[in-house]
Symmetry: C2
Subunit: 494 residues, 2 copies
C-alpha cells in the first residue's frame, strides 16, 4: 500500500511538472504537435443523426440508432484522401449517448440495434490510415442522473470514469474537446481534476473547453475569438488550446492570455461546419455543402498564425459519409494540393489589411463601418448605403497582385425545422477595377459573390488601387472582407 501510494505520488509530481498546460508565453513542444496537424475532420454521429435533430434531450430511444451500413473505416479512409491529418470524433453529445460500450451508462451503442463500438472502429481505422485520433466529449449530459445532483462530485467522477475508458482502450488520443460547459457553473466541472486525470493517462493529449476565454474569467463575459484581447482571462483552466465554436479568430489573433497573472500561450482550434445550412449532424435529405471558394479561403484563414481548423463531415443515418460531402472535401483537397495527404498550403499574403477603403456610400449602421471591409476579422462587415455602390482600396504603394477574394455577408434566415439556416446573398452583378497606368480598368465582371468569390486573374497586375463595384443587388449589400493578394509563389504552413 505504501509502495502504491509512493507510485501515485511520483506520478502526480511527474504530471504536475511536465504535462500540465505550461504557463508560458511561448508555444510548447506539445502544442506544436497540434499546430503541425493543422487540419482535422470533425465527425458528428449518434442518436441525433437518426432523429433529424441537432441537440436532443436524452430521451430519444436507443432503438432509433440503427445504421444499416455503418462503416467507420470508410470515414477515416475518406479523411485520409481528403488530406486531413486527424479526426475528432464526437463520442458523446449533449444528450449523453455514448458511441462506445461504456460501463458507466446504459445510454450507449451497446443498447442499440447496431452495437458496434464506433470509437474502437474509428481508432482502428486511424491506425490503419496513419491519422491521429482526437475525441469530443460533452460535459453537459442530459441523460446521466448524477449530472443534475447538487453535489457536482459524482458527475465529475462519472466523467473521469468515462474518460478513463476513452483514454485507455483506444490507443493514443491527440486531443480532447470538451463542450457544453454552459450547462452548469464553471467550477462544477472541476476541470483541474479532469485535466490532471487525462494527463495521468495520456500526457500528450491536448485539452480544450469550448468558450475558453472571457474578459474576467467568468461566464457571461465570454469573448468570441475575434474579440479576444491579449491578456484576457482564461475561463477554464488548465487547457492546452482555445476553442469557441463556431467563431473565427481575428487575423492578428493574440495567443497570450492570462491565468492568475501568468501569461499563457493558447492557439485556437476553429470548428467549421461543412453544411451551408449550419447542420452539424447529417440530415436525411441532402444539404448543400459550402462552396469551394469559401472553403478554400476559410482553410487559409483558420489554419494561419498557429491556429487550427477542424471541418465537420458527418456520416448519415446509414453510417456512411454522403457522396455529396465526400466530393466537396475531395474537391477542396484538389484545390489545396493535399489529395491523399501532403504538406498543408498557406494562403497568399493579404495586401488589403488595414489599407484605406473609401466607399461611394455607406449605411449609418453602427458596427457596419467601412473599416470592417479589410480589418483583421471575417466576422465584421461593412454595409452599403444603397444597392449599388463602390469601394476603393488604396494599397498606398504599387503592388503586384493577381487575386482578389470577396466575402459577402448574408442575411441568415432561420428555416422552419428549427435548426437550419439559409444564407441569403444580395449581390447580382459586380465588377473589379484596378488602377493601371493612371486609368481605371475593369479586370473582372461577375454576377453573384455569394459567401466567397475568389477572382484569379490570368496575369499579375501592378496596381496601387483596387475598386469593387456592386452594379446590381436585390437589397442593400454587406461585404465582410476583400482580400487582395498574389499567389504566384506557392506557400506552405510552417
Amino acid at each position: 500500500m505504501i509502495k502504491w501510494l509512493k507510485q501515485k505520488l511520483v506520478l502526480t509530481i511527474f504530471v504536475c511538472a511536465s504535462c500540465l498546460a505550461s504557463s508560458a508565453q511561448q508555444i510548447s513542444k506539445l502544442q506544436m504537435t497540434q499546430v503541425k496537424r493543422g487540419y482535422g475532420m470533425f465527425i458528428h454521429f449518434g442518436l441525433n443523426t437518426f432523429n433529424q435533430i441537432e441537440w436532443s434531450d436524452g430521451k430519444l430511444p436507443l432503438s432509433s440508432y440503427n445504421p444499416d451500413r455503418l462503416d467507420p473505416d470508410s470515414w477515416v479512409k475518406i479523411a485520409k484522401e481528403a488530406g486531413f491529418k486527424y479526426v475528432i470524433l464526437v463520442t458523446k453529445h449533449h444528450e449523453g449517448f455514448a458511441l462506445w460500450d461504456s460501463k458507466y451508462t446504459d445510454y450507449d451503442v451497446a443498447g442499440t440495434p447496431v452495437k458496434t463500438d464506433v470509437v474502437a472502429e474509428v481508432a482502428k481505422a486511424c491506425k490503419k490510415y496513419g491519422l491521429e485520433l482526437g475525441l469530443y466529449y460533452s460535459l453537459w449530459d442530459r441523460y446521466e442522473k448524477t449530472h443534475d445532483l447538487k453535489d457536482p462530485k459524482p458527475y465529475v467522477d462519472f466523467m473521469k470514469n468515462q474518460l478513463t475508458e476513452l483514454l485507455t482502450n483506444y490507443g493514443q488520443v491527440c486531443e480532447l474537446w470538451f463542450d457544453g460547459a454552459w450547462a452548469k457553473n464553471d467550477e462544477d466541472w472541476n476541470i483541474p481534476e479532469v485535466y490532471k486525470h487525462i494527463k495521468s493517462l495520456q500526457p500528450n493529449c491536448l485539452v480544450t473547453v469550448n468558450h475558453t476565454i472571457s474578459i474576467d474569467g467568468k461566464p457571461g463575459t465570454t469573448r468570441a475569438p475575434v474579440d479576444q484581447q491579449k491578456g484576457d482571462k482564461i475561463r477554464f483552466w488548465p487547457v492546452d488550446f482555445r476553442s469557441k465554436d463556431p467563431n473565427l479568430a481575428r487575423w492578428d489573433d493574440p495567443k497570450v492570455f492570462d491565468h492568475q497573472g501568468k501569461e499563457v500561450y493558447l492557439m485556437f482550434e476553429h470548428t467549421l461546419c461543412l453544411s451551408n445550412r449550419w447542420n452539424w449532424f447529417q440530415k436525411r435529405g441532402n444539404v448543400p455543402p459550402r462552396e469551394l471558394d469559401e472553403l478554400e479561403e476559410l482553410f487559409y484563414w483558420t489554419t494561419a498564425n498557429d491556429n487550427i481548423m477542424i471541418l465537420n463531415v458527418p456520416p448519415d443515418e446509414h453510417g456512411q459519409i454522403k457522396t455529396l460531402e465526400k466530393n466537396r472535401i475531395f474537391e477542396l483537397a484538389d484545390r489545396l494540393g493535399i489529395r491523399g495527404g501532403g504538406k498543408l498550403p498557406a494562403g497568399p499574403t493579404n495586401l488589403s489589411f488595414k489599407m484605406s477603403a473609401i466607399p461611394t456610400n455607406t449605411s449609418a449602421g453602427k458596427g457596419q463601418e467601412i473599416t470592417n471591409i479589410n480589418d483583421y476579422s471575417l466576422e465584421t462587415y461593412w454595409t452599403a448605403g444603397d444597392s449599388t455602390t463602390s469601394v476603393e482600396i488604396d494599397l498606398l504603394e504599387t503592388k503586384a497582385i493577381n487575386r482578389v477574394s470577396i466575402f459577402e455577408q448574408p442575411n441568415d434566415i432561420n428555416l422552419p425545422d428549427g435548426f437550419s439556416t439559409l444564407k441569403k446573398f444580395h449581390v447580382k452583378q459586380f465588377s473589379v477595377e484596378l488602377l493601371l497606368n493612371g486609368k481605371w480598368e475593369t479586370v473582372f465582371m461577375g454576377d453573384q459573390i455569394g459567401a466567397c468569390k475568389i477572382i484569379r486573374l490570368p496575369n499579375v497586375f501592378n496596381t496601387r488601387k483596387v475598386r469593387l463595384n456592386i452594379l446590381r443587388s436585390d437589397a442593400i449589400p454587406s461585404i465582410q472582407h476583400i482580400g487582395i493578394s498574389n499567389d504566384t509563389q506557392k506557400k506552405y504552413r510552417k
Copy 2:
C-alpha cells in the same frame, strides 16, 4: 497586248483548274489548312466602335473615328497569347467604312483623324507573332453609291478593286469572310466572278458567304447550320467553307452539300460573340463577357467535327482590347492549355447523346420536347412543366464518368439601347444524382446553372443513370443540353 491576253488566259485556266472550290465529297488539302487552324480571333473595329452602335448606315462622320491609343500590334499579341491561330479582321462592315486607305472610297481611315492603315498594322503584327490573317468584308455597303445602282456590275467591280487592294498589299490572306448578302439578290454579288478574282490573286485564300446553305438554293429558305441536311443546296457558289452567323452547328453536322447535283464538302466556321450581351463592337462601358464554363464547352463543340470557331474580341474606342476581355480569353486559354499557343484540345466524348431522357414533368410546348435535352443541337431546348423538376438520363450501360455539363436556356430580354440582349436564367438551386450500386446518390449541389455549368467530379463514378434535379427556380426552367463525359484522358483535335 497579245502576250498580255495570253498570260491572262493562262492564269484564268490555271485558276479554274486548280483553285476553285472543289466539287468533292472529301475535304481538300486547302480546306484542311483551315480545319487545322481551328480557332481564330474575330476583330470588329471601325466607325461603330466610336458611336456605340452595332450597324450604322454610312452616314456617321469620319471625324468620329478617333482612337487615342490605337495599337493593332497589341491585338495580335493578345491573340497569340490567348492561343488563337489566326485573326479575322473586319476590314469593312455594312456601313462601308474601310479600315485601310482604299483608292476606291473616301469613307476610310485615311479621312479620319487617325489615318493608320489598320489592315496593314494587323497584317504586320500577324507576321511578327506568327499568326495567319483572315479578312471579313461586307458585301452590303451603305456608303458606296454603285451599291444601289440597278446594274450590279459597277459595284462588283468596286468590290473587286477593293479586294485587289486587300489581297495584294497585305501579304497572305488565309480566309475571306463575306457578310450582308441579304441586301441584294444573291446573283447581284456575282460571287463566281468575285471568287475567281480572289483565287487569281491568292489561290490559298478560303472564301465563305454568310448564310451559305439553303433548302433550294434561294434566299428565304436559309437554314441555320443546326438544320442543315446532307445534300441541302449551296446558295452561294463557289465557296470553300460554310458560315451562318451566329448559329451553332449540330454535333452530327453534315459536311456534304449540293451544288448543281454534285456533292461538295464544306466545313462550318462558327462566329461567337465574347460579349454576354450580344455586342460585336466594343461599347464604351464594360459589358460582361461570357462565363468561362460556357466558353470552354462552346470551344469543344464548335471546333469538333472538322468545324472551326472564331471568337469576337473587339478593341474599344481607344484602339485597345479591354483588360476585361483580355483576361477572359487568357483564362480560357489557361483552361484549354493553349496559353501562348499549342495544340488545340478536344472535349471529352459526350455519352449522353440520344440516350433515354425521362422528365418528371414537361411542358406541352411544341419544339420543347425532352428529346432536345441530349440531341445533337445546342440550340434546341426542353422546357419543364413546373419550376421544380427532374430529368433522368439512362446511358443504357454502366459508364465511367466524372463530368456533367448543363446548359440552361435563357429568356433573352432586349435592352433599351436597341442592340444589347440580357440573358435571364431561372434555376436557383439544383443537384445531380448518380445511380451508384442501385441507389441514387447526390454527387453535386449548386445554385445557379446559368448559360453553362461544368461539374467536374473529384472521382470517376461508374453509373448507368444520371439525374438532374431542379430544386428551385424563379420561373419555368428550360435546359438546352446535358453532357455526360469522362475527361480523365486528355484529347486533342485531329
